[in-house]
């Protein structure tokens, strides 16, 4: 198994690592049993994600996909951020080994979870906008 140069770059120098104090939305996906947890913090101004940070427990691909996902949504309108697919994250990283595809799924879900939390805090039901975020990707976990 070999990672692309882009994956290694985002693993070695991850962008937007950390937390946001008083974040407008916080999303956490994955679980420790599977070996991956992603936590994403967003700051929202005028429906735009003005800042985003992440913390990840996981393998090289989990860290790299978190990093890339934050780069791809920073400065974007919430609607556009919600359109980010795991495929787009993978493509931006020049691909992932097949066994690591679930990491990109987690990154997509982490964004959605953070946006859901943002709407919930505002008293808006997130489900019609964001959809349901599955607990754990079927077939990737063995709980």
């Amino acid at each position: 198994m070999v990672y692309s140069e882009k994956v290694m770059d985002h693993f070695a120098n991850p962008r937007n690592v950390g937390e946001i104090e008083n974040a407008d939305g916080i999303g956490e996906v994955g679980n420790s049993k599977c070996g991956d947890i992603m936590k994403m913090y967003i700051k929202v101004d005028d429906d735009t994600i003005s800042d985003v940070k992440f913390k990840t427990f996981g393998c090289g691909a989990a860290i790299a996909t978190s990093s890339m996902a934050t780069e791809l949504i920073k400065g974007k309108k919430i609607d556009d951020a919600l359109k980010l697919t795991n495929k787009a994250v993978m493509e931006a990283l020049d691909g992932l080994p097949p066994v690591k595809v679930h990491c990109s799924v987690l990154a997509e879900q982490a964004i959605k979870a953070a946006v859901s939390d943002y709407y919930q805090k505002k008293g808006i039901d997130p489900e019609p906008i964001v959809g349901i975020i599955p607990e754990c990707e079927e077939g990737h976990c063995h709980i």
Partner: protein, 396 residues
Amino acid sequence: MRQIYADNSATTKLSPVVLEKMMPYLTEVYGNPSSLYRIGGRAKEAVEAARENIARNLGAKRPSEIYFTSGGSESDNWALKGAAHALRSKGKNHIITSKFEHHAILHTCEALEKEGFEVTYLDVYENGIVHPEDVESAIKDTTAIVSIMYANNEIGTIQPIPEIGEICRRHKVLFHTDAVQAAGYVKINVEEQNIDLLSMTAHKIHGPKGCGLLYVRQGVKLENLIEGGAQERGRRAGTENVAGIVGLDAALQLAVDTMDERCAKLSVLRDRLIDELLKIERSRINGDRVKRLPNNVNMCFEGIEGESLLLKLDLNGVSASSGSACTSGSLDPSHVLLSIGLPHEIAHGSTRMTFSEDTTEEDIDYIAKIVPEIVSYLRGMSPLWEKIKLEERLGK
């Protein structure tokens, strides 16, 4: 940057001494050992001299008990399938092994279960050691073979092989041991230790890849592995890997000659690194600290994942191995770490470093310096670590 190879349980660097012994058989002595002319005869002599010397180094009674193979996995497959198939007609359909064997054994057992064999997987307890009394109580009338590895490939724990050998002999049950990791680090004597079948390979002891052996005690019935020629007494046909066989012999001889001094030096380095790394909070050593290979360090660091630690080590010039199965195409953590009772989330954060004679004190100091830095960096970005610390504060 300092470059440190710390994955000697995966494979080792070919020793120059071994290469020199092999060279003639890669160049001028290219004859087929089965041919009658001189360069064939010279190749045959080299193979038989290696067989004789290896038999002596393993404490075997006869050179004819040594069968050359392509390596450890082949030997393990042959030992189990060969013995199981040969004994089935006698009503023997039960196999005893342990939960943390190499997959060459475990997957072979699974294949045999599909053929209708019954397999007992023994516990290895918290310290990663099989209890001989468990072997004895698992033996029944239908038991064909017991297979317990000499030393574990991930956590390096050394098993009570002579005790298990004695039990199997007393109960007239075949005993196989996978000595791939132990050879060269532990004194092996198949006669004294009552071993009937033993697998080993050259490339773990500074020999070439692609050559190993199966010791088969005279009188042990084993189904043939490869039909098609008279090589290896007709049981494993195919033109011999002459240079590989010469290399296997040279590597084992070198390992036996240097064993005491090398193991003493390695134990000191190993213990020093373990002591240093245990200073990291919420770290643990996996497997018995004393009954372990002198070159094996296997540790878990809570709150981080093994593959990212491994990649960070690589970026810092250290080649190590992650016990987590992320690298092997499966997302489950190591079956070995689960077998010693670690929960999934802790088993995910493991790393294995295995050293060789080339490892220096400076290497150990460098690793002892960078690992805490990497662990602390990865914990700094880990939501799991955040949770662990929060629970600590809440006094859980």
